[in-house]
Amino acid sequence: MAEVTATPPGRPRAAPLRDDAGDARLAQCAAQGDAEAFRALVVRHQSAVIALARTLLPCAADGEDVAQDAFVAAWRKLRTFDPSRGSFFGWLAAIARNRAFDVRSRRAPAPVANVPDRAAPAGGDALSEEDAHRALDRALAALPDEQRAAFVLAEVHGLPLAEVAAIEGVPVGTVKSRAARAREKLRAALTREEIEP
């Protein structure tokens, strides 16, 4: 019998390890004004939130500012976090995603120009790791917002599809197909770079 899973499409990948129960406890303390508990949450999630903001923004340099804004916004509305509705990281990721798209919509698209127009293979058929990453960064930046968000939240940060669906306000099936379409486009971009150096 075929195994049915609710994981994102593509190859199985180890999801990032997170301590959701510990996060919920810290969030509860932080909501009562415990700044040290909130600091612990910032330290736990800062790398992931900065990375998330960077992948959603046209200019990666804005990632840290957006992440900082997201954490400050989270601090102010910690009382609205409900662990029964999803993980703390999912809640925080939703804030960061919305902040990133706000910034994105206020600015004209540009900084992709900082990246060379095409990856320069180091020689031979296979792209170097750096070239492949550059090609994928460009392909990700070129995706429609909804596909990029679905892919980044579900595949890069390993959020359950149901949580991504709640963040995006669409059915789980829609998230699944958006993430699958994004993955196909990224694979295609990589294949193109390999075939047409």
Binding site: V72, W75, R76, L136, E194
Partner: protein, 69 residues
């Protein structure tokens, strides 16, 4: 390695690299100080005042019911 496997491996490798980004030094401190600076100083007092007001109203209501009886 087949080309498809190589593509998937490169994609997975990139996904792993984009999952985390090192924050600059003092990031958590900046977040905490900004959050602290943006928290209105009157908020704790307002919360206490609201709690006292609610308790007073409840007492008054209970007293009114008692006197009416």
């Amino acid at each position: 390695m087949k080309p498809d496997d190589r593509t998937d491996a490169a994609l997975d490798d990139w996904i792993g690299a984009r999952r985390a980004a090192a924050p600059s030094a003092g990031f958590a401190d900046r977040v905490i100080s900004t959050a602290d600076a943006r928290t209105p100083r009157w908020l704790p007092f307002a919360a206490v005042a609201a709690a006292v007001a609610v308790a007073a109203l409840r007492t008054a209501a209970a007293l009114a019911v008692f006197v009416a009886r």
